[in-house]
């Protein structure tokens, strides 16, 4: 796995921070956010994409906006982490599928042309001038820096991955949908080896302002570390953060043959649409996933939840858990309490955490949920990290519009 998150980079430091319950959200340092109602975020600091690229490839970075840089860096880390001999891979059976988001243009790039075409103080953009003068003040490859499919494409180019390649653009479920699709492609024997990931950064003036206009966000600026409160009585909204997560998904025999370390087995995947957003659709999808995995509620050690931290969304997510697990009190781990919401990257990051719980035998706890909302009526994983006692972890991801996914991971062996 390859990780860039507010909790650190690479597998071990990330996992240590998860187990320690370290908060990843802090005041925004990336730009002056003082005019916004939200001034905190989970940030990846000191990120230098150059360190993760061969010298000959570094000039490509100017064609990559930040999410793309995070995506290619995480892919590189994942390839190192899985110790694959790249030269030995069948390149035509090496696939790349990413979840991706809207990538905002960097403001200075439009400032120069803008100056030519907007009178000071005016709200009118002179498109006639734009067409003759403004347009020529922009770099020729400008658009390619922001296309959502460039995460997966740049990764395929850097690593000569000629197999199936897709970009899922479905908000917070995009990463897990990418994961599910890759799983199916492996099952149908169209590939052996996949880099599956997500990368996103909304910690810039344009994205964050837009999100402030339409998303339910926490405004607990005086307590950033405690702002994202999944399933807590006092939750008020999500906290945006940035990062990338990539996992290597590989067919079992292929992994065995190269003596790969196996972190977890993917037992199933399911997805659907919770039309009423009342948890019934999500419950159905979870049941489908468990049926495909051939396991029951009693086999689930813990739920690795979406945990949006928003009043309405957490309530319907919890309703699904109540419906499926009844009185079983399966503990719910919501990593976003620590990381904030990394958008399409969060699903894969959380899946990585679910895998690490199975491989290390330790279940992390949810932070920032001191008073579980009685209306949610679920059991929050709390206290010190606990031993994993059952063979499976259920990973759930959703969007606030109702797209839902479930994955069951199983302990190896």
């Amino acid at each position: 796995m390859g990780i860039f998150s507010p909790l650190g980079t690479r597998r071990e430091p990330f996992w240590e921070a998860v187990l320690a319950g370290t908060p990843g959200v802090g005041p925004i340092t990336a730009f002056d956010a003082s005019a916004l109602p939200v001034r905190m975020a989970g940030q990846v600091t000191d990120f230098d994409a150059k360190l993760y690229l061969d010298k000959k490839d570094r000039k490509q970075l100017r064609m990559m906006a930040r999410p793309i840089q995070l995506a290619v860096a995480a892919a590189q880390v994942a390839l190192e982490d899985c110790k694959v001999d790249k030269a030995a891979l069948d390149k035509t059976r090496f696939g790349v599928v990413y979840g991706s988001c809207m990538i905002p243009t960097e403001l200075p790039e439009l400032a120069e042309p803008g100056k030519v075409c907007v009178e000071p103080g005016s709200r009118f953009l002179d498109l006639k001038k734009w067409g003759t003068e403004g347009i020529h003040a922009i770099a020729p490859l400008w658009m390619l820096k922001y296309l959502p499919n460039m995460l997966a494409c740049q990764v395929s180019i850097l690593h000569d991955a000629q197999g199936p390649n897709n970009t899922i653009t479905e908000n917070d479920v995009a990463g897990i949908l990418a994961f599910g699709e890759s799983l199916r492609i492996l099952e149908r024997d169209r590939a052996d080896f996949f880099l599956v990931g997500g990368a996103e950064s909304k910690i810039n003036p344009l994205s964050l302002t837009r999100q402030c206009l339409f998303e339910t966000l926490s405004k607990r600026n005086n307590d950033p570390a405690g702002a994202h409160r999944p399933f807590d009585k006092d939750r008020e909204g999500t906290v945006l953060s940035e990062g990338a997560a990539v996992v290597v998904l590989e067919e079992l025999e292929h992994a065995k043959k190269r003596g790969a370390e196996m972190i977890a087995e993917v037992a199933s995947f399911s997805t659907g649409f919770d039309r009423a957003r009342d948890g019934k659709g999500l419950a159905r999808v979870i049941r489908q996933a468990m049926a495909e995995a051939g396991v029951g509620p009693g086999d689930i050690d813990h739920i690795n939840a979406h945990g949006q931290g928003a009043p309405v969304t957490d309530a319907w997510e919890a309703a699904a858990y109540r419906e499926v697990f009844g009185s079983l009190q399966v503990p719910v781990h919501a990593l976003k309490g620590q990381t904030g919401n990394m958008g399409c990257a969060s699903g894969i990051l959380e899946l990585a955490a679910a895998g690490l719980s199975l491989s290390t035998g330790i279940r992390p706890s949810t932070i920032n949920c001191p008073n579980p909302d009685p209306a949610c009526g679920i059991t929050i994983a709390s206290g010190p990290p606990a031993r994993v006692e059952r063979p499976c972890v259920l990973k759930v991801t959703l969007t606030q519009l109702g797209q839902v996914c479930a994955v069951v991971l199983k302990k190896i062996g």
Binding site: A111, P148, Q154, P205, T209, G272
Partner: protein, 436 residues
């Protein structure tokens, strides 16, 4: 490798395109060789290097669906999508209110779109940036945020997100099964069709609404493509600008619109006595893994993709009797696509009519693959192949039979449709007449 497969058939189609507000109008106008291209009317584009495009004309969502108000803040892409989806579902008899629709299990009815983003408030964005410049002419982020909070329209911004179109359609049409949106540039809706085919084959769903909707005919889109020099700048003859495979081609022409299909597992379709238009028989996706700007010069990814789709469908090149080419009218695409087809089809390549309907429709970007598959289906049903218009001067490097300028009568029972995208995304689909 032989695999037992559930067979998947097409039972509904809908389209909103620069050549018409329905499938039949679009197809008939392609056969007539009409160009949908004209001056850009959606914004003041008169001084842009490219000031023309193939726009959808006379579109009014309220003529298609009663619930048009929920799309009020959506980009025009979402509106096109809703109209085409409604047509496709009505055509299949699977609207929630149809008898078959009521009888169907909506939890096994999903959606996979290759749908683009909403339309950026470009004037708002640029004026906020300029308004937020400090005295040295540098962007003052704080001022930009202040202006943007005040000036951007919250609901409009929310509706720009990629997942809004699939969510609207799933909610409106009660599609509770798998819900995906992919955006692999110009290959998106073809890839959506392919992956949806695989979802049904595997049994994850019985029916899928699949397709694409997109418009990049906005200042940001035209600026971006003009800078890449990907668009034709034949300003004096806009209707001649999209000229795939012609020696004097100079880039593609933006189109827009939506195309949607209902695809369905065969026994499910038969049980309800659905009209079967065709069988979606094969799919492959590959990556060039070469450059973000150009296709691989030897067609490495495209060749593997075309061959993979034929193999998946279990057909040999000699069984294919029409190819709907990606045929964008750019120098590189048309050359590489031609040589890739020749490589896979060998001597048979000369006998397979290969046309690019982008010559008439322009390039509908994310929606292109789906509309082109629909045109393949119509070609099989009607026995008439749509031409490549504006084909005047042969290019020695493009040496296939491009069905120049005139529609052609032919018995067609198996088609290949190619879609290739920026970044080296390749998708090929095989569709054939349904036979037991």
């Amino acid at each position: 490798m032989a695999r037992s497969k559930r067979r998947i058939v097409i039972t509904g189609m809908g389209a909103v395109t620069p050549l018409g507000l329905s499938v039949s109008e679009t197809y008939q106008n392609c056969l007539r060789g009409i160009s949908g291209v004209g001056p850009i009317t959606r914004f003041e584009a008169s001084t842009f290097p490219t000031n023309f495009a193939a726009e959808v004309k006379g579109f009014d969502l309220s003529k298609f669906i009663a619930e048009h108000k929920r799309f009020e803040n959506c980009g025009i892409n979402g509106k096109f999508g809703a109209a085409a989806a409604n047509q496709a579902l009505a055509n299949a008899g699977l609207l929630p209110t149809d008898p078959d629709g009521k009888a169907s299990d909506r939890t096994r009815f999903g959606l996979y779109l290759g749908s683009g983003e909403g339309i950026t408030d470009f004037e708002g964005l640029v004026t906020n940036i300029v308004g937020g410049l400090d005295p040295d002419g540098k962007v003052d982020n704080k001022k930009f945020c202040e202006l943007s909070l005040r000036n951007f329209h919250p609901l409009h911004e929310a509706e720009q997100e990629f997942h809004t179109t699939p969510a609207h359609l799933a909610d409106l049409f009660d599609l509770q099964g798998p819900n995906y949106n992919c955006l692999t540039a110009c290959a998106a809706s073809a890839q959506a069709l392919g992956e949806a085919l695989e979802l049904i084959r595997r049994g994850d769903s019985d029916v899928m609404l699949v397709g694409g909707s997109h418009s990049m005919i906005h200042p940001m889109g035209v600026t971006g493509f003009n800078l890449l020099t990907a668009l034709s700048t034949r300003r004096d003859q806009p209707q001649k600008a999209s000229r795939p495979f012609d020696l004097n081609r100079d880039g593609f022409v933006l189109g827009e619109g939506a195309a949607m299909l209902v695809i369905e597992e065969l026994s499910h379709a038969k049980k309800r006595g659905a009209h079967i238009y065709a069988e979606l028989a094969g799919y492959c996706s590959t990556a060039d893994a070469f450059r973000v700007t150009d296709s691989h010069p030897d067609g490495r990814g495209a060749i593997a993709c075309i061959a993979g789709a034929l193999e998946d469908a279990g057909v040999t090149p000699s069984q294919v009797n029409y190819i709907n080419a990606h045929g964008t009218s750019t120098q590189v695409n048309d050359r590489v696509e031609s040589l890739s087809i020749r490589k896979v089809f060998g001597a048979h390549a000369d006998k397979v009519p290969t046309s690019s309907t982008k010559s008439c429709l322009g390039h509908m970007i994310a929606a292109a693959g789906a509309v082109e598959l629909i045109l393949c289906v119509e070609t099989m049903r009607n026995g008439m192949i749509p031409p490549t218009i504006n084909y005047e001067t042969p290019d020695p490097e493009c040496d296939l039979d491009y069905v120049p300028n005139q529609a052609r009568k032919a018995v067609v029972d198996c088609c290949l449709s190619n879609s290739f995208g920026f970044g080296g995304q390749n998708t090929s689909l095989v569709v054939r007449k349904f036979a037991e």
